[in-house]
C-alpha cells in the first residue's frame, strides 16, 4: 500500500493486535479474542500529520501503542524508514535497533497528570531519555533540556520544579519536551489535548504544529474530536471496531467521504453553524468487540447494507490518490460530506 516509498517514514501492513480472553481458573484456557486492531494498513510520510479518529473500541489508542511499541503486535508488519536508509522492522528489533527505534519514535499521552512521574523534576523527566540512550549528561544535558523546554514555551527556572506545581497545559508541554528532546522523527500523540481546557487546547495545538514544521516531524495524531483532527491533519484515518474503514487526504475525507461510517461520524459532530436546526440521527452504538457482527462490522448501523455486507468482510480498496475505503458498495453509494 506504499506510494512514493522514498518519503514514507512509517509503513504498516496488516497490523493485528488481539487480546486473549481467558476463562480464568488454573488452566487459563483462551476462550476468545478481543480484536482491538484488526488488519490495519496505512503509511505516514515524512513531515505529515495523519489524524486517527474513531469512537470507543475503534482501536486507535491500541494502534498508537503498537506503533510506539508499548504493545507488541500480534501480527502484521510495522516498519520505520529512517532518512539514512535504515529500515527498522519494529516487531523484530535487535538490541541496537531498539535503541535507534526509541530515538526515532516517541509518544505524547493524554493525561498530563498521570504521564509525568511526580517524584522527578522537569530536568529529570525530560532528560531521562538522553541519559538512557547515552546521548548526553551533566551540564551538556542540562543545556539541551533547557533549550527544548524553552522551545515548548516553558522557562529554564522550571527545570528544578516538580510536576505538581504546573497546570495541565504546562504539564502537557513537559510531556511534549520529553518526547522531542531525543530528536525523534515520528511522534504518536494520543489525545494530547483532550484533558485540557478549551482555551489551552489552542496553545498546545499550535505548539505542536509549529514544532512539526521546525523539526520536520511526522505525527500520528489520535483523537475522538473531529474538529481537532481537522485542524491538525494532512490526511485522516477513520477507525471502527478495530478496523480501518477509510483513509484519505483531509479535504477529500471531509467533503467526499466514501464510507457510510465516515458520513455518519461527520454528521454527528455538533457545529455552531447548525444552531437551531434539527439533524438526522442514526441509531445504534459502536459494537461490543466481544460480539462483532458477521460480515462488515458496520452493517447493524449502515443504511446501505445489502446481502453481501452481512456475509463477507469487505477489503480495503483504493478509490483515489491516497484514498482507501473498506466497503462493499463504495462505487454504488453517494455520500454527503460536511
Amino acid at each position: 500500500m506504499s506510494e512514493n516509498s522514498q518519503d514514507i517514514i512509517l509503513d504498516v501492513k496488516g497490523l493485528k493486535k488481539y487480546f486473549p480472553l481467558s476463562t480464568g481458573g488454573v488452566f487459563r484456557k483462551v476462550s476468545g479474542y478481543i480484536k482491538a486492531v484488526d488488519d490495519v494498513s496505512f503509511y505516514v510520510r515524512r513531515g505529515e500529520t495523519v489524524g486517527v479518529v474513531g469512537e470507543s473500541g475503534c482501536g486507535k489508542t491500541t494502534l498508537g501503542r503498537c506503533v510506539s511499541k508499548l504493545y507488541n503486535a500480534t501480527d502484521g508488519e510495522l516498519s520505520v524508514h529512517l532518512e539514512d536508509g535504515t529500515v527498522l522492522d519494529v516487531n523484530n528489533l535487535d538490541k541496537e535497533e531498539r535503541a535507534t527505534f526509541r530515538k526515532s519514535v516517541q509518544m505524547i499521552f493524554q493525561d498530563p497528570y498521570a504521564s509525568l512521574n511526580p517524584r522527578m523534576t522537569v530536568l529529570n523527566i525530560v532528560g531521562e531519555s538522553l541519559v538512557v540512550n547515552d546521548v548526553a549528561k551533566g551540564t551538556e544535558l542540562e543545556s539541551i533540556v533547557g533549550g527544548i523546554v524553552q522551545r515548548v514555551g516553558l522557562k529554564v527556572e522550571h527545570l528544578r520544579r516538580y510536576p505538581h506545581s504546573f497546570s495541565g497545559g504546562q504539564r502537557q508541554r513537559i510531556g511534549i519536551a520529553r518526547a522531542l528532546v531525543i530528536n525523534p522523527k515520528l511522534i504518536v500523540a494520543d489525545e494530547p489535548v483532550s484533558a485540557l481546557d478549551v482555551s489551552i487546547q489552542a496553545q498546545i495545538l499550535n505548539q505542536l504544529k509549529d514544532l512539526a514544521q521546525d523539526f520536520g516531524l511526522s505525527y500520528m495524531f489520535i483523537s475522538h474530536n473531529m474538529s481537532v483532527i481537522r485542524y491538525m491533519s494532512d490526511r485522516i484515518m477513520v477507525m471502527y471496531a478495530g478496523k480501518l474503514v477509510e483513509v484519505a487526504p483531509k479535504e477529500v475525507l471531509l467533503n467526499q467521504p466514501r464510507h457510510p461510517y465516515t458520513e455518519l461520524l461527520l454528521s454527528a459532530v455538533p457545529r455552531v453553524s447548525r444552531r437551531g436546526t434539527y439533524r438526522m440521527v442514526t441509531p445504534g452504538e459502536p459494537p461490543d468487540l466481544l460480539n462483532l457482527p458477521k460480515g462488515c462490522v458496520f452493517n447493524p448501523r449502515c443504511k446501505f447494507a445489502t446481502e453481501v455486507c452481512y456475509e463477507e468482510q469487505p477489503n480495503l480498496t483504493q478509490v483515489g490518490t491516497d484514498h482507501f475505503v473498506r466497503c462493499h458498495r463504495f462505487d454504488e453509494i453517494k455520500l454527503k460530506g460536511i
Binding site: V198, I200, M226, S227, V269, P270, S273, R275, V281
Partner: protein
C-alpha cells in the same frame, strides 16, 4: 395539559453567590449571577474550569456541600404552575432548608438534574427500576407499585432503551455509556419536572451517541414543554441545544444573549477570544488564536475586571481598578465589560 407554545417564566436567579470556605482561602465559585429560565426554552451555559457553571446548577438544587460551601446571597424564585398553565405560587428556593421536606418536594419533582458521569450518579447496587421507582414513589405516593413499574418501562422505552421490559431490571454496569445516560434521563423525567438541568450530559459519550442523546433531550423538551439549563464547555453542543446563552468566567456571567447574537456578534473580549480559539468542523480553517495566559487561581483576589490579565482589549488603569457591571448594551444583550458603557 399545558399549552405547548407557552414560554412562561420558570426560574428567576437573582444575584446568586456561592462561596467555598477552604483552608487555602475562599473560593468565590459563583459570585453574583442572575438569569432567567423559561418553560420550553433552553439556556445554554458555557464556560471553562472554575467558571462556576456546575456550582450554579447545584445551588439551584441546593446540592452544595455545606461545609465548605455556602450560598451566601441571592434568591432563586421558582414559579409553580398548575395543569392548566395558571401560576400557582412562587417559592424562593434559597429560603428553604436544603434537607427539608419542602426542598425535597421540589427536587426531582419540579427540577431534575442529569450529570456528566452516569456511572457515578446511578447506584451500582440498584436496578434501573429500583432507582426510577424510588423517585416515583417518593414524589407521587398515590401511584401503586404496579403502575410505577409500568410507568418506568414506558419511560425507558421513551428514552430509546431497547427491550425495556428486560432492561428495566438491569444494573447500571450492564448498560453502555449511552444507555446509562438514557436511563439517567428517564430517571430525571420520572416525575415530569418543569425544569431540567443538564450538566455536561454528553461529554463522556461518543459523538454518534451524543447526537442521539441531544436529539432525545430536544424531543422530550417539546413533549413536556420543559425548561432546560444546558451546561457545557463544548461550544458547538451548546449552540445546537440553546435558545439563549450565558457565558461565564470565574464565577460571573460576562455575556448573555440569544444564541444567534452571541455567535454572530459577540461583544465581550472573552467570548470573542473563546470563539477564535476553538477548532470547528466547518468554516474557514484559520490558525487558532489561543487566549493568552491561563485561568487564574481561584484564590486570586481581583481588583477590577477578572479577565483583565488575559484580555487583549484591556485598558490599563481602568479595567484593573474598576469592576464592570453587567449592562444591557442592546435589547436582550448583556455584557460585563468597561468597553461598553
Amino acid at each position: 395539559m399545558v399549552e405547548k407554545n407557552q414560554n412562561q417564566l420558570l426560574v428567576e436567579v437573582e444575584d446568586l453567590k456561592t462561596y467555598f470556605y477552604l483552608h487555602e482561602g475562599t473560593v468565590k465559585a459563583v459570585d453574583g449571577v442572575s438569569f432567567e429560565l423559561f418553560k420550553g426554552k433552553t439556556l445554554g451555559v458555557i464556560g471553562e474550569s472554575g467558571c462556576g457553571k456546575s456550582v450554579t446548577a447545584r445551588s439551584i438544587m441546593q446540592l452544595v456541600a455545606s461545609p465548605p460551601g455556602k450560598i451566601i446571597n441571592g434568591s432563586i424564585n421558582f414559579h409553580h404552575y398548575d395543569e392548566d398553565g395558571k401560576q400557582k405560587e412562587v417559592t424562593d428556593i434559597l429560603k428553604l432548608k436544603p434537607d427539608g421536606k419542602e426542598m425535597r418536594k421540589i427536587r426531582w419533582k419540579d427540577i431534575a438534574i442529569i450529570f456528566q458521569e452516569p456511572m457515578t450518579s446511578m447506584s451500582p447496587v440498584h436496578t434501573v427500576f429500583d432507582q426510577i421507582n424510588e423517585a416515583i414513589r417518593l414524589h407521587l405516593p398515590e401511584v401503586s407499585k404496579e403502575e410505577s413499574r409500568e410507568r418506568t418501562i414506558e419511560l425507558i422505552r421513551r428514552v430509546g432503551i431497547p427491550q425495556p421490559e428486560v432492561m428495566v431490571d438491569a444494573y447500571s454496569y450492564q448498560l453502555s455509556g449511552g444507555m446509562r445516560q438514557r436511563a439517567m434521563i428517564a430517571m430525571a423525567l420520572s416525575c415530569n419536572p418543569a425544569l431540567l438541568i443538564a450538566d455536561e450530559p454528553t461529554t463522556a459519550l461518543d459523538v454518534t451517541v451524543e447526537s442521539q442523546i441531544l436529539e432525545l433531550i430536544r424531543e422530550l423538551q417539546n413533549e413536556y414543554n420543559m425548561g432546560i439549563m444546558y451546561i457545557s464547555h463544548d461550544l458547538a453542543v451548546v449552540a445546537e441545544m440553546s435558545d439563549d446563552i450565558m457565558v461565564m468566567y470565574l464565577g460571573q456571567a460576562v455575556e448573555k444573549t440569544d444564541v444567534n447574537t452571541i455567535f454572530d456578534t459577540p461583544l465581550h473580549p472573552y467570548t470573542q477570544a473563546l470563539w477564535r480559539s476553538i477548532p470547528q468542523i466547518d468554516g474557514e480553517i484559520d490558525r487558532l488564536e489561543p487566549i493568552q495566559g491561563t485561568i487564574p487561581s481561584p484564590y486570586y483576589k481581583h481588583t477590577g475586571c477578572r479577565f483583565y490579565g488575559r484580555c487583549e482589549k484591556r485598558i490599563e488603569g481602568v479595567c484593573n481598578s474598576t469592576f464592570p457591571e453587567l449592562i444591557e448594551v442592546n435589547p436582550g444583550h448583556f455584557v460585563r465589560c468597561l468597553l461598553y458603557k
